[in-house]
């Protein structure tokens, strides 16, 4: 008779163990990057590799922002790469602006398409095509086009592209939230005497603001981590952090310490953002596809 309880107990224990293993697998790569980022050059490829550095150093981080500073004799070579500061400033300007633009444009369009079928029923699906194709396929004509407009290696080019290529997410995620607001609430406000604009800003917007915040953070992550377009459309002036990370890997040989440090730095904003939206992600990702 008590076998059911026993079974439930072993069940929980097994799940717990599986959870620990899964955790370890998912954490290990990042922990290794973290570990290397605090190691001095002689430990980078020391054999056997050690998880905990023998001598913890922050010089890998320092060198990112002060290229002249020697790190065990290789500082000069690291400085051959562009200073990280510029990439940082670029990312910090481009990503939030593109995110905000994508969110505002996407929200307005989501409202119009859900409430009035503006632009026809297939418009939302059409917007999805921007996510379906490899960005490199658009990069070919865009390069030609942006060159003609003088937009190559500018922040504006990135802002335009990042806004455009995340609009599908802004549109589709906010659509879900807007659909959650009963139409009758808006109609009630109209009968109360409110204009369409007023309804949009005093009724609908406050009711979906949580969803908008989650969408915004998600779009932020997409933009912050984008690599291909930045790689193609920037060379020196408008370079972003992911491009900078790749430069460390590709261009200057095996400077694993600064490389890892930059990886860590590049990941911090998005991991924080991700943690904040996690709760919303679980509820926002069913796409209304499950019955009831």
């Amino acid at each position: 008779m008590e076998s059911r309880r026993l079974r439930e107990f072993t069940d929980a224990v097994l799940r717990w163990l599986a959870g620990i293993i899964v955790c370890a697998i998912f954490l290990l790569p990042l922990i290794w990057v973290l570990s290397i980022s605090f190691k001095p050059p002689e430990e980078w490829i020391a054999y056997p590799p050690r998880l905990i550095p023998e001598k913890i150093t922050t010089s890998n981080y320092v060198v990112l922002f002060q290229p002249g500073n020697p790190v065990g004799g290789v500082g000069a070579m690291v400085s051959a790469a562009e200073p990280v500061t510029r990439a940082f400033i670029n990312s910090i300007i481009v990503v939030p602006i593109a995110t905000a633009a994508s969110l505002v444009i996407g929200f307005l369009a989501a409202y119009a398409t859900t409430r009035f079928q503006a632009g026809g029923k297939s418009l939302p699906l059409f917007v999805l095509t921007t996510r379906m194709f490899p960005p490199v396929a658009f990069a070919v004509p865009l390069l030609v086009y942006f060159r003609a407009l003088g937009l190559i290696d500018t922040q504006l080019a990135l802002i335009l592209m990042y806004t455009g290529f995340t609009i599908a997410f802004s549109l589709w995620m906010t659509r879900g939230f807007i659909e959650g607001v009963p139409k009758s609430i808006e109609e009630a406000a109209i009968l109360d005497g409110a204009s369409r604009w007023r309804v949009l800003f005093t009724i609908t917007l406050p009711l979906v603001k949580g969803g908008l915040a989650a969408t915004g953070l998600f779009v932020f992550i997409l933009n912050w981590t984008e690599f291909l377009l930045a790689q193609i459309f920037t060379s020196r002036q408008a370079i972003t952090i992911p491009v900078q990370v790749s430069h460390y890997v590709g261009a200057v040989g095996r400077f694993y310490g600064p490389m890892a440090a930059l990886g860590v730095v590049a990941s911090i904003p998005v991991v924080v953002a991700g943690y904040i939206i996690q709760r919303h992600l679980v509820t926002g990702f069913t796409f209304g596809l499950v019955r009831e």
């Binding site: 503006a118 996510r131 379906m132 455009g164 790749s246 590049a266 990702f285 069913t286």
Partner: protein, 315 residues
């Protein structure tokens, strides 16, 4: 005047004053809706439609930036670029590799993601923490993931160290020098980063399923496996389909990981289609040829998705 179908549309000829009609018009739904989608429409024209036209044009001419003329002055090549693609073994190999990533990574990610989602359907101590841990790889920049796996699979890196500990000193593997193994590490990194996504979708989907049918099945005597096979899985089907479609489309685009981890090497043995187009267009500067490949990819994906989306819309 025929009814427009819009609830607030003005359906009768107006005797009302111009001002009140104007006010009405500004507030009118169709106008309002059109106004709201205009910014997005402009953006789509700018980034989707005009480029599509340009890319098609480019694919039909013979132009390279180093030719010294502007692209609209380039001579027509008609379908010669396309003809060249069909003889380009490197192109088809790259397509094959991208599809390989789709199948291998997508399949494994689905299997692992579903397993994790099922595991997480019941509570156990520490579930919330584990969930956060599982989800974070999704947020990381691809290049950082590439970097992390590159560091793990270095010749004198921790993976080889563990292998030699277990299998003796002869077990050191040169991961990035063997074409198959190099591809394997890329797929592994992709799985590591994207299993969380499938987990997330499937987990949300499972959580949103109504509980009643499962309880009804229990009540009718079905065991766990039968419930999963005949009740849960069919109900989850639309979610599974959409997850797989999204994932397949994303995996087909794979670029960053390859770029960072192997650069397509050794040789061209890990070159995916995105990387190949990138090289042709932006490294070798053969933009017309890259444009033709891009158009071909656009057409292929459109056809495939049309095919894949149909069952979702019906289901």
């Amino acid at each position: 005047m025929a009814s427009s179908g819009h609830p607030l549309a003005d359906t009768s000829e107006g005797r009302a004053s111009f001002l009140s009609r104007l006010r009405r018009a500004v507030d009118e739904e169709r106008f309002f809706g059109t106004l709201l989608i205009t910014p997005m429409q402009l953006l789509l024209w700018f980034l989707l439609i005009i480029p599509t036209i340009i890319v098609i044009y480019l694919s039909l001419v013979a132009w390279e930036p180093r030719m010294g003329v502007d692209w609209w002055q380039a001579p027509f090549a008609f379908l010669r670029n396309y003809a060249q693609i069909f003889q380009d073994g490197r192109f088809w190999a790259a397509i094959g590799r991208s599809l390989g990533v789709v199948v291998a990574a997508g399949g494994l990610e689905f299997a692992v993601g579903l397993g994790l989602a099922l595991l997480f359907m019941r509570d156990f101590p520490g579930k919330r923490i584990v969930t956060s841990v599982i989800l974070y790889p999704m947020m990381l920049p691809w290049v950082v993931v590439g970097l992390a796996f590159y560091l793990l699979f270095l010749d004198r890196g921790p993976v080889n160290f563990v292998l030699t500990q277990w299998f003796g000193s002869g077990a050191t593997v040169e991961w990035f020098k063997n074409p198959l193994l190099a591809m394997g590490t890329i797929v592994l990194a992709d799985i590591w980063q994207w299993t969380p996504f499938l987990f997330l979708i499937l987990y949300s989907g499972l959580g949103a399923l109504p509980k009643d049918p499962v309880e009804a099945a229990m009540n009718l005597g079905a065991n766990r496996w039968q419930i999963f096979r005949h009740v849960t899985l069919p109900m989850l089907k639309p979610v599974i389909l959409i997850a797989l479609v999204i994932r397949a489309l994303e995996a087909f685009k794979i670029f960053d990981l390859v770029f960072v981890m192997t650069g397509g090497g050794p040789g061209t043995s890990t070159e995916t289609i995105s990387l190949y187009i990138y090289r042709v267009g932006f490294v070798f500067g053969q933009l017309s040829y890259a444009a033709a490949m891009a158009v071909l990819i656009l057409v292929m994906i459109t056809l495939v998705t049309r095919f894949a989306i149909q069952p979702i819309e019906e289901g």
